[in-house]
């Protein structure tokens, strides 16, 4: 059971993340080619990272500086990127990083933990209790699984379609070839890194005062993973959402689609002006609320259609492919595709990937995997 779950998560990450195509115009949640940062308020910065050489994306990192100490949200993926972030933080402030929050266990948000641990001796790594469990289960073996990653990617290339049955476009094929080439330098980076999983876990809410700056860490329900944490700054009205919100093209593969809708509704109750997504571009003002509505609208339409098709076709894992085909045939998602992905071909490819992943997840919820 454990192996199956582990394998599923591994597959979700490998097959779904590492296939973004290379066009320069692609949206930032699809492909990030440049490192950059944004100042959100005095002492609050959000950093975006260039994708790793194996095309793996890197989660956004947010830096929150108080009068006394610093809290960082997500440590990204590559140790070299985390080191760059720390050098940047030290330019912004001489206060120590005392807290590192992992919004969820995925490698692209947590593999830099060890770098922070080495740089700041009094670091506390915080996560939801489920995230801590999952990190302890999955993260330490990541490097050893690299050969398997390469094999899995080669198989996808040979088959010409991913594990959701989606036929690869030419751009995606090239992306897989690049990813396979990039594995070696990435693996080399991880050789000396000591893995660090969270040592401080919470269930529903934790509030931390960094010195005149209150930071709330909340679990508002399952969504992208079992233990999604969001970080909320009540005074500054900033919400750091982890991968519950990825913008402009969301991550909807894996996860718990029905709970995702509830969790997003909880999220919407918070009084925020700015959303920092787990990947991609920052949302400001009404745009954040509108984007949440778009996410819940799309997810809920897909869940409903999946339910309808399961009633017609039948339940069980072997019916996944017939159900998927029927859903894709009956549900017109072109308006959503346009809203999320615009006219860019790579964004649209990625939208189709996330859509196929959402069907798999919604189907899995019904047959009770």
């Amino acid at each position: 059971m454990k192996f199956r779950q582990l394998f599923k998560n591994f597959i979700v990450l490998v097959f779904s993340f590492a296939l973004f195509s290379a066009a320069a115009v692609a949206a930032d949640s699809v492909k990030t080619t440049q490192r950059s940062f944004v100042k959100l308020a005095e002492g609050i910065y959000s950093i975006r990272h260039k994708d790793a050489p194996d095309t793996f994306p890197q989660g956004n990192t947010t830096v929150i500086i108080g009068d006394r100490e610093v809290l960082v949200v997500d440590s990204c993926y590559l140790p070299s990127s985390a080191r760059e972030d720390i050098a940047q933080i030290k330019e912004w402030t001489n206060k120590p990083v005392r807290y590192l929050v992992n919004t969820h266990w995925h490698y692209d948000h947590t593999m830099g933990n060890g770098v922070y641990w080495e740089a700041f001796p009094f670091l506390t790594i915080i996560a939801h209790s489920e995230t801590a469990k999952q990190s302890a289960n999955y993260n330490p073996g990541w490097f050893e699984r690299f050969p398997r990653r390469a094999d899995a990617m080669r198989k996808i290339l040979t088959d010409g379609k991913d594990n959701n049955g989606k036929v690869l476009s030419d751009g995606e094929k090239k992306e897989y070839e690049d990813a396979i080439k990039g594995l070696e330098p990435v693996q080399a980076e991880f050789k000396t890194l000591v893995d660090r999983t969270p040592n401080f876990t919470f269930d529903s809410e934790l509030t931390i005062n960094l010195g005149n700056r209150e930071v709330q860490i909340k679990h508002l329900g399952r969504g992208n993973t079992k233990g999604d944490a969001v970080v909320y700054l009540p005074k500054e009205k900033i919400l750091i959402a982890g991968d519950l919100i990825v913008h402009p093209v969301p991550y909807l593969f894996g996860g718990y689609p029905s709970d995702f809708i509830k969790t997003l509704n909880n999220l919407k109750q918070l009084d925020f002006q700015t959303i920092v997504p787990g990947h991609g571009e920052i949302l400001r003002g009404q745009a954040g609320k509108d984007y949440i509505d778009l996410l819940t609208g799309f997810t809920s339409a897909v869940i409903t259609e999946v339910g309808k098709q399961i009633n017609l076709i039948g339940n069980g894992q072997r019916n996944l492919e017939p159900v998927r085909q029927a859903v894709q045939k009956n549900l017109d998602v072109s308006a959503w595709r346009q809203k999320f992905a615009g006219n860019d071909k790579d964004n649209q490819d990625f939208f189709d990937t996330t859509y196929a992943g959402l069907i798999t997840a919604a189907h899995a919820e019904v047959w009770g995997q």
């Binding site: 330019e91 912004w92 001489n94 401080f200 269930d203 809410e205 931390i208």
Partner: protein, 372 residues
């Protein structure tokens, strides 16, 4: 943009006094601590490997100083509760220093009552990297209810010390009866605690917890899991317990106080019993109470639950009959429990009256009438 700041930590300063007064009182303390016998008012007990409890030896009376727990981890130490004054916390810290050279990383304040929190500053001075953990409502209750309580203590403390001294001299207790030896020891202890508290007052600083827990927080110190749990409202609205699931040890804060329970005026008597039921479900082998001796079975907690259930049931009936607080205090009968907790002791009966009967009936009345 580099902001230059010293490593000295800014703390929330509550209550600022004029400097000359501070100096005068400081000198007074110095002379008091010289007269106070060096024999410490506590005992360090080893509970199991790397877990120690500092058990206070002050007799049960009207003022309190809490037990401390040291949890020694792989590279640092977690401490449960500081003391009623920096002076006492320094003594406790000196004991920790004899046990380990590792730094204190976290101090957990089981609730916001000042006797558990004033000594925080000693840990911050000794360990600039220490973090304080408390319940979420601490940051609301301490600056409001806590500040009001403090004002009372500061205004009346000196007068109360004089009164206790007079009673001792006269050989009479506060009710005018002949002073027993137990009462004399209790009053003497109260005098020492109040004086230490008042000595702190001129440069009073309370460091509020930086990490606020809503219901559960777990940390791993490299040797064990440390669970910090909110089990429900009871002694205050902010009671945290510290549970070590591997060792089956529980630091209960003032949810449990022995030999006489401490329900107190900022309590929630209607929920207290249920909260203790939750506590028993943890199945701890050893319970280190907020005040009093270490418990190694559930019998005392069960007795407290009986008391609180009886109180709940009686006060609910009284309010149901339309009684006011004064009438309720006549109809509610806790005599059975007074005997069980205080026995024949005049002094413990007085403590029971002042920390169980009177505040618990008032708090229950408040809860019951608020609901309506």
């Amino acid at each position: 943009m580099i902001i230059k700041t010293s490593k000295v930590v800014k703390t929330e300063i509550i209550g600022v006094f004029l400097l000359p007064l501070a100096i005068i009182l400081f000198l007074t303390t110095a002379s008091i601590s010289q007269i106070t016998p060096k024999n410490p008012d506590f005992e360090v007990q080893k509970i199991t490997k790397d877990i120690y409890a500092v058990i206070r030896k002050e007799p049960p009376s009207l003022w309190f100083n809490p037990n401390t727990v040291f949890i020694i981890g792989k590279k640092d130490v977690t401490v449960v509760d500081s003391n009623i004054s920096s002076e006492y916390t320094r003594e406790v810290l000196a004991e920790l220093r004899k046990l380990t050279a590792k730094p204190v990383r976290y101090v957990i304040n089981t609730h916001w009552h000042e006797d558990h929190i004033i000594g925080n500053r000693v840990y911050r001075e000794a360990f600039p990297n220490v973090e304080f953990i408390g319940h979420k409502s601490t940051s609301v209750d301490l600056p409001t209810i806590g500040a009001a309580n403090r004002k009372g203590s500061l205004e009346n403390g000196r007068g109360f010390v004089e009164r206790l001294k007079t009673q001792i001299k006269k050989g009479e207790n506060l009710a005018g009866q002949k002073l027993t030896e137990e009462e004399r020891l209790g009053y003497s202890s109260d005098i020492r605690l109040i004086e230490s508290y008042l000595a702190e007052a001129p440069n009073f600083q309370i460091i509020l917890p930086d990490i606020l827990v809503e219901n559960r927080l777990e940390l791993n110190d490299g040797k064990r899991r440390i669970e910090i749990l909110f089990l429900g409202r009871a002694h205050t609205g902010a009671d945290l317990v510290v549970h070590l699931p591997k060792e089956k040890i529980l630091a209960s804060g003032d949810l449990i106080v022995s030999p006489v329970p401490l329900v107190g005026s900022t309590s929630y008597p209607l929920e207290y019993g249920a909260t203790l039921e939750n506590l028993l479900k943890l199945n701890a082998r050893v319970i280190i109470p907020g005040h009093g001796a270490v418990l190694r079975d559930a019998s005392y907690v069960k007795l407290m639950i009986r008391l609180l259930n009886s109180l709940k049931q009686q006060t609910e009936s009284a309010v149901g009959r339309g009684e006011n607080l004064e009438q309720m205090r006549k109809s509610v009968n806790l005599e059975e429990f007074r005997k069980l907790f205080a026995g024949d002791s005049q002094h413990k009966s007085f403590v029971f009256q002042n920390y169980v009967f009177l505040p618990a009936t008032a708090a229950a009345f408040r809860q019951l009438t608020e609901k309506k």
